[in-house]
Amino acid sequence: MQTAKKKSGGSKAVKWILIGISFVFIFLMLVLPLITVITEALKQGWQVYIEAVADEYTVKAILLTIEATVFAVAINTIFGLFAAWALTKFRFKGKKLLGTLIDLPVTVSPIIAGLIFVLTFGRQSPIYPLLEQLDIKIVFAVPGIIIATVFVTFPFISRELIPVLEAQGSDEEEAAALMGAKGFTIFRKITFPHIKWAFLYGVVLCAARAMGEFGAVSVLSGHLRGKTNTLPLHVEILFNEFKYVPAFAVASILVIMAVIILIVKSVAEYIGKRESENVR
């Protein structure tokens, strides 16, 4: 790794031009909008900021957002690992179709995503009477929020894993299998070390997207204060209530949560890379 880095980096001029372009792009497209959020949040001073953040409903929204995010990550982890394994280690008919279907949720408009769950589980649905009899509430309740979050983040983990597994090929696994290793052992000893960073990126991507999801959740949450409001919805409500500054204050919580996730990721990456270098 180290030597490859030095030799293939290209000339100095190219290096700094590319870095320069990246800095400008990141500054204009990411840093400025974030600064806007933070300055708007603090426009009326810390007092207003803290009031907005410590509000009872804000706290409840934070908890619900965390719950939905944990679910989305857990379900998509299970799905992502199995799906990536199935798609890259075997040949079968309909593989492209399957891959496409997995990707589909990302490209479905959030509005449509919300709509399909309302159609599936709402009063228009043929199964609604059954759900009502069993007293199961899906839409306009917490399960609906979770399922929508899982939907919008559906391919994130598998999509990170698939290109890496594809680039790697399956020769090593095949060799191991021929030597009689069991499936899980193969995965643990051979596959996982290859994909661990991609997996980490996938989890981070999934968690970040799950926290910020707005459109789909907005369609099927019902906006019940303190019950089905996630942080993005709380931001929307505050904004619609002409509470411009508190809306941005709550939005900044999401930025902070994202930053925490990203720090955790960096630390994990750092420790992992150092240990693997030590082994060498």
Binding site: E67, V70, F71, V73, A74, I75, T77, I78, V118, F121, G122, R123, Q124, Y128, D135, K137, V139, F140, A141, V142, P143, E172, R188, I190, F192, P193, H194, K196, V219, L220, G222, H223, L224, R225, G226, K227, E236, I237, F239, N240, E241, F242, Y244, G272, E275, S276, N278, V279, R280
Partner: protein, 359 residues
């Protein structure tokens, strides 16, 4: 290039994965547990000391109902000894109506216009004739459509005909996506109707010119206010009176309100969702909740939140706030909401026509 990894990392990773799934399982149980107790509560609610109501409302009524819910809770406590906890839901009026129609369990709806409540009725949740269930067409407070202009009124905007002049930038939401913005459109129509004595071609021309001056057609009232106030677009914002007052409250030195000669009486409607209250056994308290909106106390809360009280006597108390000389038409002048909706806003209606020709 196989990266050799220490077993310890792998174990940590595995332990982490197990922890996450365990956590997921746990919180799954806990949320299920919570919902089942909720269900038990709702089953026995009739006799319990605490009673819950869900009020599905539209956007800028939060402060109104925050204040009103407290007042109503103490009133109900005095009357029956029960505690009432009201859960609020706010959002775009049309969207809220859709959600109730799709199964959001609301005991009462307090929406921006009759048409949205009718949508809930059409879903079979509210009985026919709800409009006459409470006084004043079931509209305990009203509002109207006014202009918000920049301080000093640099473009000298006094009435609707100033909005169609060249070089005037107008901000108003899209009536197709915003229920509230339909009132804006109809108010302009009412003015043109009077100006041209009902000559439809001329009225349409007027409306078309007006919308040609619209710089940004936001999807909702709040977005339009942001465009006008925070991003400095346009010279005039067509807005609900109560929302215009909220902007003035935030920025007293930057804006002023102009009341046009003709406007429309915006009647936000309230209704009991019959199917839900019968299922949950909350009809009595839900009825009283809406009825008490007409009490003197509640009417003053509405006035304090810049809604016009429907009680004439109390409205007079606020004559220093509201311009009471405005000539107000009502939705009945348009033949009711169903007709107005069909003529003007549905696909292929007058509003589409305006834009199609301008292409």
């Amino acid at each position: 290039m196989v990266i050799i990894m220490k077993k310890s990392i792998l174990r940590t990773a595995l332990a982490g994965a197990i922890l996450i799934s365990a956590l997921a399982g746990f919180s799954g149980c806990s949320s299920q547990g919570a919902s089942s107790t909720d269900a038990q509560q709702s089953g026995t609610q009739n006799t319990a000391q605490e009673i819950t109501l869900t009020n599905v409302s539209y956007d800028p009524t939060r402060e109104l109902y925050e204040a009103y819910n407290k007042v109503f809770a103490s009133y109900w406590k005095d009357k029956t000894g029960q505690d009432v906890v009201v859960t609020q839901s706010h959002g775009g009026s049309g969207k809220q109506a859709l959600e109730v129609a799709n199964g959001l369990e609301a005991d009462v709806v307090t929406l921006a216009l009759e048409y949205d409540v009718n949508a809930v009725r059409d879903a079979g949740l509210i009985e026919d004739g709800w409009v006459s269930e409470f006084a004043n067409d079931s509209a305990p407070y009203t509002s109207t459509i006014v202009f918000l202009v920049r301080k000093g009124n640099p473009k000298n905007i006094k009435d609707w005909d100033d909005l169609v002049k060249d070089g005037v930038g107008v901000i108003t939401p899209n009536p197709k996506t915003s229920g509230g913005a339909r009132w804006n459109y109809l108010a302009a129509w009412a003015y043109a109707d009077k100006l041209y004595n009902g000559d439809e071609a001329q009225i349409k021309d007027f409306i078309k010119k007006l919308y040609q001056n619209v710089l940004v057609l936001d999807s909702g009232a709040r977005g339009a206010t942001t465009t006008f106030v925070e991003n400095g677009q346009g010279d005039v914002l067509i807005a609900w009176e109560n929302e215009a007052f909220l902007s003035i409250k935030d920025y007293p030195d930057d804006y002023e309100i102009v009341t046009p000669s003709v406007s429309i009486l915006a009647q936000p409607s309230v209704a009991i969702v019959d199917k839900v209250v019968d299922k949950r056994g909350t009809r009595e308290v839900a009825t009283e909740y809406l009825q008490y909106l007409y009490s003197d106390e509640a009417q003053r809360i509405a006035g304090d939140n810049y809604y016009r009280p429907s009680n004439e006597t109390i409205l007079k108390e606020y004559s220093n706030v509201f311009d009471l000389n405005i000539n107000l038409v009502t939705i009945q002048d348009f033949g009711g909401w169903d007709k107005a909706q069909k003529t003007h806003f549905s696909d292929g209606g007058v509003f589409d026509e305006i834009y199609e020709k301008s292409e």
